[in-house]
């Protein structure tokens, strides 16, 4: 099995999986919060928040990547603070790649979650409150289980988007093998060097397989969750 891919290709695949996993996992709680706010709360600046969330979807990825570099670079406003306070460096590290992937995937995640939350009947949440459940418990015991199918779908979509992210990542954290060279960056690199086509092709196949399996698994999980929610 290991012979099938060369070490450099394995490295790119492993890095991509790690970046996508962490970016999806860490953006989920914030995604749920933002989606809940957009679906249920009335507040000033709601349209602004909505626009901000969707910005990465409409901006050229290179622009998003450059903005990230300006903000989270070692001399950027937030970047310098993060390094001082927590010793956390994002620029040109795999953690930066995860941040870029998370931000690019965020609109897709929020859209899926928002649809799921809007489909939950607020009357059920009212009923839970009259039974003594505080806001937190209403969310944990009623809202969250009911949006589970949407949450799974959104997470898989975000994961797939993170696997494929290229423009913002290469602009923000460059293309360093073993550090920031994700699957798409590796494919791009292999295509730049003579004789790299076969490596590129193998990674393309890997990409397709990973994306398809993610889709199948999510379909299976979402269907099982939906059956539970339907109450039959």
């Amino acid at each position: 099995m290991t012979d099938w891919l060369q070490p450099a290709e394995w490295q790119a695949l492993a890095l991509s999986l790690r970046v996508s996993f962490w970016s999806t996992l860490l953006s989920l709680p914030l995604g749920v919060l933002v989606a809940y706010a957009l679906a249920r709360w009335q507040f000033r600046g709601k349209q602004l928040l909505n626009g901000l969330v969707h910005l990465p979807l409409i901006l050229p990825p290179v622009v998003t990547g450059y903005l990230l570099l300006l903000t989270f670079g070692r001399r950027g406003l937030l970047g310098a603070w993060l390094e001082d306070a927590f010793g956390l460096v994002l620029a040109f590290r795999w953690t930066g790649a995860a941040l870029a992937a998370a931000i690019m995937a965020f609109p897709l995640l929020v859209r899926a979650l928002r649809l799921a939350i809007e489909a939950v009947d607020p009357k059920l949440e009212d009923a839970a409150a009259t039974l003594g459940a505080s806001r937190f418990w209403v969310f944990a015991t009623v809202t969250l289980p009911l949006i589970l199918p949407g949450l799974i779908a959104g997470a898989v979509l975000a994961f797939a988007k993170a696997m494929g992210e290229f423009g913002a990542t290469i602009t923000f954290v460059s293309n360093i093998p073993g550090q920031t060279q994700t699957l798409p960056s590796a494919i791009y690199t292999f295509l730049q060097v003579p004789g790299g086509e076969s490596s590129a092709l193998r990674l393309v196949v890997v990409s397709v397989v990973v994306a398809m399996s993610a889709l199948l698994v999510s379909e299976l999980l979402a269907r099982r969750a939906a059956r539970r929610v339907a109450g039959a």
């Binding site: 009923a127 839970a128 009259t130 109450g231």
Partner: protein, 361 residues
């Protein structure tokens, strides 16, 4: 335990000003749709914030606009049974029933076994809400509210979405609830039959105001209620005590002004119950009738005659300590020269005392 409500709220074109007291027992909020019944019950539950006013339960302030107090919904501890049940679709019946238990402080109150017994739902525990019938769902919803150890139950037309067979299935459970627990109930309904059978106190709402309130027997036997109830539903509700069951399939009941025979009731002699006599089922006679098939003839004294816009007259009568209503035509009233304070005989067609309109109290 008593609830006191005094609130104002503006709801579209409707200006609500509602003030009433709900003592122990079942207090029915009665009125046509659009008179503000659901708004009131939602304000009590905390699902709606009234513009001004005060709501208090046994001395604890639930809401006070001036003091800026509005207890959060989950801290009010009022079990709410919604018209549409609102069972959680992702939980089993058992999990639905015990949902409120984990949030209820302390111990005591009804256990799961008590509630299953009271509502006859022991066989449903492992089912999913999606597989239940309408009547079953509603019984589970009532059980779920009871198990959250509520200080009071709020019921918003819990039977309105059900057909008459399912209603008949649930009404006895509500009666047992009233008679076997000491949890007060605020019951929203537009059905006279339900109110007559269940309520101990009636609050009549009309266009966002309390038109009248008081004990169920008094309010329902009031001739002025005919307008709200409609002539077909107007009638008296009186307390009765089962005296004996006879071999010919009739039960004999004592009322303060005499005795009544009606088709056999499934209760032991000595039980107190409540009977409802519709105004349109009462015939008046000056002399004691002879050679008449009707069994129930009560000597009564006329208290008042109320003429409406139509051809009918509502006659209010004293029968012992209770009051009866009769609806007769104006022509008959003129021909018989009926006057106040006269003694006449009220003929009640025994078949007219419908079983579903007879409730135990």
């Amino acid at each position: 335990m008593s609830l006191s409500v005094d609130i104002t709220h503006r709801l579209g074109a409707l200006d609500l000003y509602i003030a009433f007291q709900a003592p122990t027992g079942i207090t029915a909020l009665f009125g046509r749709s659009g008179t503000g019944k659901t708004t009131v019950i939602n304000a009590v539950a905390g699902l709606l914030r009234p513009e001004s006013g005060h709501i208090e339960l046994s001395g604890e302030i639930l809401f006070d606009a001036e003091a800026g107090i509005s207890l959060p919904i989950h801290k009010r501890r009022l079990g709410y049974v919604f018209q549409d049940g609102r069972l959680f679709p992702h939980l089993s019946v058992r999990q639905n029933l015990t949902f409120g238990q984990r949030f209820a402080a302390g111990s005591g109150g009804l256990s799961l076994a008590d509630v299953c017994d009271l509502l006859g739902i022991a066989g449903l525990l492992d089912r999913r809400p999606g597989t239940l019938s309408g009547g079953e769902k509603q019984r589970v919803a009532i059980g779920r509210a009871l198990l959250s150890r509520p200080r009071m139950l709020l019921m918003d037309e819990p039977l309105a979405a059900l057909d008459s067979a399912r209603k008949a299935e649930i009404l006895p459970f509500l009666e047992r609830l009233r008679d076997q627990t000491d949890i007060p109930v605020l019951y929203v309904s537009h059905s006279v039959a339900e109110v007559a059978r269940l309520a101990t106190t009636v609050v009549v709402l009309e266009a966002g105001r309390v038109a009248r309130s008081g004990r169920a027997e008094q309010i329902l036997s009031d001739p002025d209620m005919v307008r709200q109830l409609g002539v077909r539903e107007a009638g008296a509700v009186l307390p009765a005590k089962v005296r004996a069951h006879h071999a010919d399939g009739l039960s004999e009941l004592d009322i303060s002004g005499g005795r009544l025979f009606l088709p056999r009731m499934d209760v032991a002699p000595g039980t107190t119950t409540r009977v409802r006599i519709l105004a349109q089922d009462v015939i008046l006679s000056r002399d004691a009738p002879v050679g008449l098939s009707a069994l129930n003839i009560l000597p009564v004294r006329i208290i008042a005659l109320h003429e409406g816009n139509g051809p009918g007259v509502i006659v209010q009568m004293q029968s012992g300590e209770d009051r009866l209503l009769a609806r007769i035509t104006r022509r008959s009233a003129d021909a018989m020269v009926l006057k106040e304070n006269e003694n006449v005989h009220a003929v009640v067609k025994s078949v007219s005392i419908a079983r579903t309109d007879v409730g135990t109290a």
